[in-house]
Subunit: 365 residues, 2 copies
DNA sequence: TTGTACGCGTTATCAT
DNA sequence: ATGATAACGCGTACAA
């Protein structure tokens, strides 16, 4: 019942916020002022290092500082925020926290924010039904100074619409390449990445290159599109069975591999849309007693940390995560954030190929 | 310069908070009240579903609701919070976001919080020097209703002290098993996990079981302690070279493996303190042309998602992450949160062994 | 050099 | 059934 829930939450919070073990309550500026025998405004000025016309008696200044320390005064960020100060909070809405790729992105985001004195608030919008919650929980919150979208949310019209009506700057990372962007966007040049991967395989003599894609928008669609185009340009389009589309899980490796190997001519290499898929393929191949790279070459995309330590280590397209995150953060809370004038910027960063041990020249038959 | 930084942040925030593309400002209750021709307090009551003696004219109620919707009114969480409402924010301080284990924990935490209507604020305290920052950034913030420590922070005295002086309930997950806990703690029964792993190996005939530990406190120390004890109890203590202590990275696998294999009698199995280490060992063994599990059995700890998809899949001790997180959350923001009376609860959950394909009977010589 | 007073957007307690 | 009003903790013009 709504009533009960409210009462409960309120009570718990009140207890948490206003009392502690010894029954005391948080020390406010007023408390410090009273103890020091000065006005609250004086305390405010002293503790904030006198912004405007510097003027404080060294004596009272020292006294106030001492008392504040002694009383264990701590500023109340919420009161500050209410006054218009930045909350130093950056909201991150991520489609799937489970995805190790986004885990890495969150890590990078957290680091970048930390360097700027910001903290990260996490939110999800996994299922479509969750839009509302994500919206009300994090976004509706004008308590974030800015919001970063991690992944492609172009299909979440409601969320995007809500965001643009909000009052915080928004930036989308890996948010696909739609035409009319309501906010700045930073992503990777998928086409360049796919080209690098395919050229690498072709230089090794591979012609029968299959593809395992992921059922999603944005990046994933761009990658499969680039694969189709580049394959068509280099000797004709691949047979239909060469293209598999699966969920982005390591477990998808097995069915995808089975389907591809059932196809003639037999593929000598597989390009996976993500490292997660590629690692799943490695595992599936092992379970089938297929040797990598002797019997089959595999290339991934992302360069997850695990890609360097798999068996065998994975040749992959390295995603410039830190750079993308840095650009994105700069665009929403940086000194040169987008001012909302004109078209929203769309930054595309270049990936690079990392050759490891999951690829080899095509076997002489 | 402090001055410049303040001015900058303030300006950006003011711009972000108070204006948007069309130059308008957020719609407040006062705005709605004015438009509806009623008092602001009336709007408050209506929009909050009349907490006390229910009494609102259906007409005005409907009108206010309509106008609020039309104007796009959204409550201001900060103002609410200032009034004592819970922020519905839970602070998570994690030692190392890079660690996939904690990434999984954060995921679980995020899910658990979401179910309760909370959002997660991320903070780190990687290096000791960062304590202060973590403190001021997230904690100093009474803006969190509660704080969850992810990992062992017993050595961070300053942080812990700061926390206990704070006004938000704190709970430590995987926080080690020190004596005097200033706050509730939830963790895993490391000894039981180690025992399960070693008994599994011994049942397979292994006697020469080496150990790769991680240089850290809490859980890691408990695991190495349990290993030493259990080995001693089952046939005498292992030779010194059998115990390696490394950083918790996949890259640590190679040096650890080299060191262990240089030891006589040659180990037939290795127990790794974490899956990250175990996966690194898998990789290192592959690079050395060692077959797993034929030449060497390997057991990990944690059961990371990747453990099921490695080559070969990894036998490991499954960490009950969701359960631990759920208990922890319950202890700080749940209905039955610790009331601060008496000793802080210390909950220990049991892990379970997951047998996969990285372990096999010791080879007949 | 320091104190007074007001407002940020809410909620809650009085009156009416 | 609804309107005025006082906090919440802080920053800051303005007055002294």
């Amino acid at each position: 019942m709504a009533r009960e829930r409210t009462a409960d939450g309120d009570g718990a919070a009140r207890r948490a916020r206003r009392t502690r073990a010894d029954g005391s309550r948080p020390v406010t500026m007023t408390d410090v002022a009273a103890a020091a025998g000065v006005a609250q405004s004086t305390v405010s000025r002293i503790l904030n290092d006198a912004p405007a016309p510097i003027s404080v008696s060294p004596q009272t200044r020292e006294r106030v500082h001492a008392i504040a320390r002694e009383l264990g005064y701590r500023p109340h960020p919420i009161a500050r925020a209410l006054r218009g100060a930045p909350t130093m909070l950056l909201g991150a809405i991520v489609r799937d926290i489970t995805d190790p790729f986004f885990a890495g992105a969150i890590e990078a985001l957290s680091l970048e924010c930390k360097a700027r004195g910001y903290s990260v608030v996490l939110g999800h919008a996994r299922a479509a039904a969750d839009e509302a919650l994500a919206m009300t929980a994090v976004l509706e919150a004008r308590q974030c100074d800015a919001i970063v979208l991690l992944g492609d949310f172009t299909a979440e019209h409601r969320l995007v619409e809500d965001l643009r009506q909000g009052h915080a700057p928004v930036v989308g990372l890996w948010h696909g390449s739609e035409r009319d962007r309501p906010f700045p966007t930073v992503g990777v040049d998928n086409r360049a990445g796919v080209r690098a991967a395919l050229e690498h395989l072709m230089a090794l003599g591979h012609r029968n290159i299959a593809y395992v894609g992921v059922e999603s928008l944005g990046d994933m669609q761009e990658r499969s599109g680039a694969y189709m185009e580049l394959m068509a340009a280099a000797g004709g389009p691949p047979p239909p069975g060469y293209v598999q589309t699966v969920a982005n899980t390591v477990l998808s490796g097995q069915p995808a591999l089975d389907a591809i190997l059932a196809q003639e001519p037999r593929a000598t290499a597989i390009f996976a849309a993500t490292d997660t898929i590629a690692l799943g393929l490695l595992h599936a191949a092992y379970e089938r007693d297929l040797r990598i790279p002797e019997d089959l070459s595999i290339v991934g995309f992302d360069d997850l940390p695990m890609a360097a330590a798999s068996v065998p280590s994975l040749t992959t397209v390295k995603m410039p995560i830190p750079e993308i995150v840095a650009r994105g953060v700069e665009l929403c809370i940086g000194e040169r954030a987008w001012d909302g004038e004109g078209a929203a910027p769309h930054v595309l960063l270049a990936p690079s190929l990392v050759v490891r041990r999951s690829t080899a020249p095509v076997a002489a038959r």
